[in-house]
Amino acid sequence: MHTVVAIKQVPDTTNVRINPETGTLIREGVPAIINPYDLHAVELAVRLKERFGGKVTVITMGPPKAAEALIECVEQGADRCILITDRKFAAADTLATSYVLARAIEALQEEGPIDLYLFGLQAIDGDTAQVGPGVATRLNVPLITYALHIESIDPEARVAVVHRKTERGIEVLRTRLPALLTVLKEIAPVQRAPLANMIRAARYKPEVWSSTDPVAFDQAQIGIRGSPTVVGRAYTPAPRQAGDVIRVSELGLQECVRRALQNIQASGAIDLASIASAKRPTDGNGGEHS
């Protein structure tokens, strides 16, 4: 079974800070990590390899530094890693990114059959969740997003049953293979890598593909030229108008709470006297669907 996983190296956005004076993003010292969802996609591919044999190929588009992320994938158990890197790919939006990944995958398809494509649900730096669906559409393979669990998979019969998480519950979907899944973290817990993988990773050098070699990417579809969307303006969000801050140490507990309830009542947001009779919005989908 041959699984291709696409990953992204991202800044650890939980550590991103804003310069309070300039209002700009402080990027220095922000560690680069493998997009957390992608770790689980790689893990799933490695588990499937253990079960069915075969191999795991990991691809990424990014700066040369993204090679670090690929080496971590080798530690996790990936067999082959490809870094697609070229300054011409820079400033790609999701349409241009999905073109590059789909074209790279087509080149891999020429080398031999691929059974499954795995992507993380979304990357934590952009949170768009668009690249996986875009690649599936370009490759014309079935797409299952929000994949939570693989109930069964049969590479011989080329069929899988996958659980997909939605707002309303879990859809159980049967799909033809090859298919493309975008995965949630629950799909496979990340396990500790065996020592042999670590040794292999220490010596491993990812393959490097440019925008012309070994695949001649259409230069009109990559990077900024291939991106229909552009950032018109970027700014730090304006803070909401803050109200008073009162202190228990100054006003006492009862008075603070009394003022809070008085403020809530006066704002007209809710009527405290009548709200207890309102029903809790716990109906499975009653509120969501009008």
Partner: protein, 340 residues
């Protein structure tokens, strides 16, 4: 007579499941109506796919659609990516809308990128604000990026339609006009079941049924709770106020409560009438999920906690004192009401 080809169509994808429209569709319809006021020669129209769903078009007219394009076909009975994206893309290619808005639900996020890829256009995900750029007369779609640390306004200058998704509850629900009517345009879908590589073979309904996105009152806790027992206290106040419990991400990561309760960038976006943030410092990742609440009451021991910068009222104090006192005083109000 209007020249149909010259109309700048602002489209809203009307998401439905089991014959019921998702409220985000009407929230988007409200946004589309505002955009159409800023864009000369434009018109708000709905796109509806499903099976036996024509009745939803009536609802769409009331929320501002002058026309609804309907593909009603058995293969569309349950949502699947392929037939929905092919159907919607065919409509785009035929009617050439200027703008196409879709809810950033699990369904909409699955569908939107597939349509944008098929028709080769730009799609801006999870927007929090939509406007028409006054000079360029194109869509200015603003979204949080870098985990909510930065807002970016995205433009799609040359490709059409300009596509955007918006999360539920980010935009207000407009008032419907009960007498409004519109025009229904039916279009065919040339797909048979054999053409579709994915089949629904089962469904496991969500248990517990928490619907935090549409709750009127949320009592939320963060790291300041200190222990999982604090959640019981939040629950007690939430029950009293007819609300539900929300949390910031660390509590979900720690396994104290399920993901369904998580508010913020990687959780749910909420817009309750009352949001009580107890022991939540107010990191930007949390704030982007709740900053649209009508009234925010923040309770924190740290007077410098960023949550106070967005709170309607802040109390510097220990949540383990303040919440029990809130419970006491709310109970007293209720008892007073019962007696009168």
């Amino acid at each position: 007579m209007t020249d149909e080809a010259a109309v700048k169509r602002i489209w809203v994808f009307i998401e439905q499941e089991e014959g019921r429209a998702h409220q985000v569709s009407w929230e988007l319809m409200g946004a589309a109506t505002k955009l159409s006021q800023e864009l000369e020669g434009s018109r708000v129209e709905g796109v509806l796919l499903g099976y036996n769903v024509a009745h939803i078009a009536e609802e769409a007219y009331r929320y501002g659609a002058s026309r609804v394009y309907l593909i009603d076909d058995p293969v569309l009975e349950k949502y699947r990516n392929l037939p929905y994206s092919i159907g919607a893309s065919q409509l785009v290619q035929k009617y050439k809308p200027e703008i196409f808005l879709i809810g950033a639900t699990t369904l909409g996020r699955d569908l939107g990128s597939s349509i944008a890829t098929r028709v080769r256009t730009g799609l801006t995900a999870d927007c929090t604000e939509l406007a028409i750029d006054p000079n360029l007369k194109i869509l200015a779609a603003t979204r949080p990026t870098f985990g909510g640390n930065l807002m970016a306004t995205i433009l799609c200058r040359t490709h059409r339609p300009q596509m955007a998704t918006v999360r539920p509850r980010v935009l207000p629900l407009p008032e419907p006009l009960p007498t409004a009517t519109g025009e229904l345009i039916r279009e065919p879908l040339d797909l048979s079941e054999d053409d579709i590589p994915v089949q629904h073979v089962g469904f496991i309904p969500r248990t517990g049924g928490l619907n935090i996105e549409y709750a009127d009152v949320i009592v939320a806790g963060g790291r300041g709770l200190g222990s999982p027992d604090g959640i019981k206290l939040l629950e007690e106040l939430a029950n009293l106020l007819g609300g539900v419990v929300g949390v910031s991400r660390p509590l979900v990561d720690a396994g104290w409560i399920s993901y369904e309760h998580q508010v913020g960038q990687t959780g749910k976006t909420v817009r309750p009438k009352l949001y009580i943030a107890a022991g939540i410092s107010g990191a930007v990742q949390h704030r982007v999920g709740m900053a649209n609440s009508d009234f925010i009451l923040a309770i924190n021991t740290d007077p410098n906690a960023p949550i106070f910068q967005i709170a309607s009222l802040g109390i510097v104090g220990d949540l383990y004192e303040v919440i029990p006192e809130l419970i006491n005083q709310v109970k007293a109000i209720h008892q007073g009401t019962e007696r009168s």
